[in-house]
């Protein structure tokens, strides 16, 4: 028990970094995804093509390779980024591709007639999305977005490989020092599980609220 208490602050700091990275990635990734998804749906063909290539290539490249590429590659291009920023950028690019597909799928499931009707009553494009399309698509988008959020939290552990001291790294350091593998890996598992379980639980609630079918 003593070792846990002694390691408490380190774990807590790591946990905080994990949460920070995850939240930042989700925010940035959702913004990118919104732009990507709308480009896929309504963009002119060059934009649509770019978005398609972006989304499809992210499907075939490991997140870790993205992190390394930005972490080592940016400085080589003369752009100084800290490890944590490199991690956030890389994971956001990855998350954005996921969210793009989520948005495209969710909005795409709304019948075309809705868009036509909204146009018919004279709403502008952004208004049509804001008042007609998104409220209906939310029921489809939310569950998939929550899955993405869980994936992001899990993927955030990869920033430990560019020596960001997140939850994963702090646990590694503690296990290295105390040799208490079973205990601390269990603690890490519980914490990750706790975060993701909470996200899923919130997701289920929101889903219920926004589900109109």
């Amino acid at each position: 028990m003593d070792v846990v208490i002694a390691s408490g602050p380190l774990i807590l700091r790591g946990l905080l970094i994990t949460v920070e990275v995850s939240v930042a990635v989700l925010l940035l990734g959702t913004l990118i995804g919104l732009a990507g998804g709308l480009s896929l749906l309504y963009g002119a063909w060059p934009l649509r093509l770019i978005a398609r290539v972006y989304v499809d290539s992210m499907r075939g490249i490991p997140q870790l390779v993205l992190i390394f590429a930005i972490f080592y590659g940016f400085p080589a291009l003369g752009l100084q980024v800290s490890a944590i920023v490199a991690g956030i950028l890389a994971l956001s690019v990855f998350c954005g591709a996921h969210v793009s597909e989520v948005i495209r799928g969710g909005v795409g499931s709304i019948p075309c007639g809705q868009m036509d009707a909204a146009q018919g009553i004279g709403l502008k494009f952004v208004q049509r999305l804001r008042y007609v399309i998104f409220p209906q698509a939310l029921g489809r988008i939310l569950p998939a977005w929550v899955n993405t959020a869980v994936e992001v939290v899990k993927a955030s552990s990869l920033v430990s490989l560019v020596s960001v001291v997140d939850l994963m790294m702090s646990i590694q350091q503690i296990v290295g020092r105390t040799r208490e593998a079973l205990l601390f890996y269990a603690v890490a598992a519980l914490l990750y599980f706790g975060i993701n379980y909470t996200i899923s639980a919130i997701g289920v609630r929101l889903e219920k609220r926004y589900a109109h079918t």
Binding site: L77, R179, Y185, A189
Partner: protein
């Protein structure tokens, strides 16, 4: 500042990358095979086993799907030796970690597949007198396999991408090759462009192959 491209060092070490790529595919195949076995047993356990088994499988699936793969890798590679289990080297540690991880996803895929097998076909099996095991073997599994083939393919592609994590415990796959070339030559942009393209091309090649396989097994209902 202009970056001076120099591809020479990367292509000089291309065999390192290629070997890494093949190793990654091999690892993904092994993990998929072991994970499928695990997932198949767990899926039948979850859909028709007694309550304790169902809870156990549920715990496994929910647990694994909510924790990072890296944690499982560390647990198998660093954790097991610390509690006295020293049988796996880094390569096999990774294979087993990935198999355990994929097993959870495959359990859900197979369970959905089992549920999607039409009741009528199972009843037809009953009607000609097949016992439970024969129904599973001759009706459920072949039909389920065809239903889950696309998901199985996607899982395989994910697993292949996840093999990049093996670099964290120095398994010499593609990402590890990139790290080494980068350290030795500092041709960082070239290396990661090539490696990224290799991953991308392989994923799409696998996807294309799977589409052929699906067509081969299509029942055309």
């Amino acid at each position: 500042m202009m970056y001076q491209f120099n591809w020479r060092p990367v292509f000089d070490s291309f065999d390192l990358l290629l070997k890494g790529l093949l190793l990654g595919i091999g690892i993904a195949v092994l993990a998929l095979a072991i994970g499928s076995l695990l997932g198949l047993v767990a899926a039948f356990g979850r859909s028709s086993g007694p309550r304790p088994i169902r809870l156990l499988v549920g715990g496994y699936v929910e647990g694994v799907r909510n924790i990072p793969l890296l944690l499982i890798i560390y647990f198998v590679y660093f954790g097991l030796p610390l509690i006295g289990i020293r049988v796996l080297d880094n390569l096999w540690s990774f294979v087993f970690a990935l198999a355990i991880y994929s097993g959870a996803y495959l359990t859900e895929i197979f369970r959905a597949g089992i549920e999607a097998v039409s009741k009528g076909h199972v009843e037809a099996g009953k009607a000609i007198g097949l016992n439970r095991w024969q129904r599973i073997r001759f009706v459920m599994i072949p039909l389920m396999f065809r239903i889950v083939l696309p998901s199985l393919g996607n899982t395989f592609i994910s697993l292949f991408k996840d093999t990049s994590l093996a670099s964290a415990i120095a398994v010499p796959e593609l990402t590890y090759g990139a790290i080494r070339i980068n350290v030795n030559t500092w041709r960082v942009i070239e290396v990661y462009l090539v490696v990224g393209l290799l991953y991308l091309a392989t994923c799409y090649a696998i996807a294309g192959g799977l589409r052929l396989l699906e067509r081969r097994f299509a029942m055309g209902r």
